[in-house]
């Protein structure tokens, strides 16, 4: 028996198996990721002139744009992953245990993509990284975002993913396969004894307990990056931080629903990822979308009730002007998601397809809202008399963002081919 045949027979959940469908998926994702890399190389060589990014003021541009919008979006996606995983462990939600690992993985991948999106935004990325470590002011929300989100949150998520996967790695290391060496290193001498299980329970409980406040703080600090800028109408406000946390939950839970449905279909795991999983996530998503819509109404009413001239101009641009199609498109997407999820909740009849559709809708809305948070306040929120600005992304920015999504898909797909995406069952 060849090593390849043994791998096919022994490893669970399609690990180590490359079917034609998977090969096609990897080929498309690699092509898109390489296209993104080439576009980034072009940007690095030519400078930021190849993008739509321009200075504020006399140039009337927007230095923060698509890259920052997607950085905020990816950080948001990461929120739901690890918070869902932590809540599953803390409250022992048995029905969601099958999606715990993919939630943890989603967090790690989304945070890496967020870091890369910020790298793309920097004209001199190396200088940016070095100066952040050298001169970063811990009082700054930028530093809070960097230290808490990238260092603390990413590392905590990786630690969590590692600790919760060691048991499966040890079981896989006992089976003959080409990946056996990797599993041995991964398991790091794990022995499935009562004492080890007790240690794992203890450490994951405390880690989950530490992660929850850490991620609320991290997402709030990202909201503060915008919310504390007193000279920028549209950004300055106390609602930014909580709205960031809620929207993060919306986009992340939406992504988790989509990922769970894809895994369910790819691995034919209807028995493991049951319809109850979608019902749980759908109800959670419904509550979060309602909360976010409430924040949006409060924000809009506050702005238009008795706004200054600049704030009035900004809200006009959002509600009836240049950005109105994005604003109302996002609101319509959220309302459609509420209608779909609300109907399924009322009827107590959940459908995977409709849940996925709602997940896609809220993510479309999330991208739109992130764009609206970042861009209009720069082009239409000038307190100094510089006039209205504009920003249009170029093909370079679109290709780099598409490349980031492809890279994310590659990371998740690659993980699924080397490790079970769902915790292994007894006898699996």
């Amino acid at each position: 028996m060849t090593a390849e045949t043994m791998t096919k027979r022994e490893l669970p959940q399609g690990v180590g198996m490359l079917t034609p469908g998977w090969l096609a998926f990897f080929a498309v994702a690699i092509i898109a990721a390489v296209a993104g890399l080439l576009a980034y190389t072009n940007q690095l060589n030519q400078g930021m002139i190849v993008t739509g990014l321009r200075d504020l003021g006399t140039v009337r541009g927007a230095p923060w744009s698509l890259y920052v919008a997607f950085d905020v979006y990816f950080v948001g996606v990461s929120f739901a992953g690890i918070s869902t995983a932590a809540l599953i462990r803390l409250f022992n939600i048995e029905k969601l245990k099958s999606v715990a690992r993919m939630a943890e993985l989603l967090t790690v991948v989304a945070l890496l993509l967020a870091a890369l999106a910020i790298m793309a935004d920097l004209g001199q990325p190396l200088r940016g990284i070095v100066n952040l470590f050298r001169y970063g002011r811990p009082q700054s929300p930028f530093f809070g975002t960097f230290a808490l989100v990238i260092a603390g949150y990413l590392f905590a998520s990786l630690a969590y993913l590692y600790i919760t996967s060691r048991k499966d790695a040890a079981r896989l290391a006992e089976r003959p396969s080409r990946l056996r060496g990797l599993y041995r290193v991964w398991a790091a001498g794990y022995k499935d004894t009562p004492a080890q299980r007790q240690r794992d329970r203890l450490v994951t409980f405390w880690l989950a307990l530490a992660i929850l406040p850490l991620l609320i703080t991290a997402h709030s600090s990202l909201g503060f990056v915008f919310g504390l800028q007193v000279g920028r109408p549209g950004w300055f406000g106390s609602l930014q931080a909580p709205a960031f946390v809620v929207m993060a939950g919306v986009s992340g839970i939406g992504h988790l629903i989509i990922l769970a449905a894809l895994v369910r279909s790819a691995l034919r795991a209807d028995r493991r990822i049951t319809i109850d999983v979608f019902a749980w996530l759908g109800r959670l998503l419904l509550v979060l979308v309602f909360t976010y819509l409430y924040f949006t109404v409060v924000e809009v009413l506050t702005t238009i009730y008795q706004a200054s001239a600049t704030e009035q101009g900004l809200s006009d641009a959002l509600l009836t002007g240049r950005y109105a199609w994005i604003f109302w498109g996002s609101i319509a997407s959220l309302l459609a998601a509420v209608a779909i999820l609300g109907w399924m909740a009322l009827m107590r009849s959940w459908s995977v397809g409709w849940s996925v559709f709602a997940g896609i809708l809220v993510n479309v809305a999330a991208v739109g809202k992130r764009y609206l948070i970042v861009v209009p306040s720069q082009t239409h929120g000038q307190l100094l008399p510089y006039g209205t600005g504009s920003y249009s992304p170029t093909w370079v920015e679109y290709v780099i963002i598409a490349g980031l999504f492809a890279l994310g898909a590659l990371m998740i797909g690659g993980f699924m081919k080397i490790f079970p995406i769902m915790p292994m069952e007894e006898g699996e």
């Binding site: 050298r134 060691r166 240690r199």
Partner: protein, 68 residues
């Protein structure tokens, strides 16, 4: 041994975060240029290092093979 080292790692991490945040980083003020510069170069890195050490305690606790 496991518990002692884990607790030590958490304490060292927290202490490093606190000291580098409140003593080594730029002071909490906005009255002069001095408020922008860290009192110890690379102070921000030590905050991050403190976070990493504290979180690593969880991995040590789970992976260490010796006695409790």
């Amino acid at each position: 041994m496991r518990r002692i080292v884990t607790i030590l790692m958490i304490l060292v991490g927290l202490a490093l975060m606190a000291v580098s945040y409140f003593r080594w980083a730029a002071p909490w003020c906005a009255t002069s240029v001095g408020c922008s510069d860290p009192r110890l170069p690379w102070a921000a890195s030590f905050v991050v290092l403190g976070i990493l050490i504290a979180i690593s305690a969880s991995i040590f606790y789970a992976v260490y093979k010796g006695d409790d």
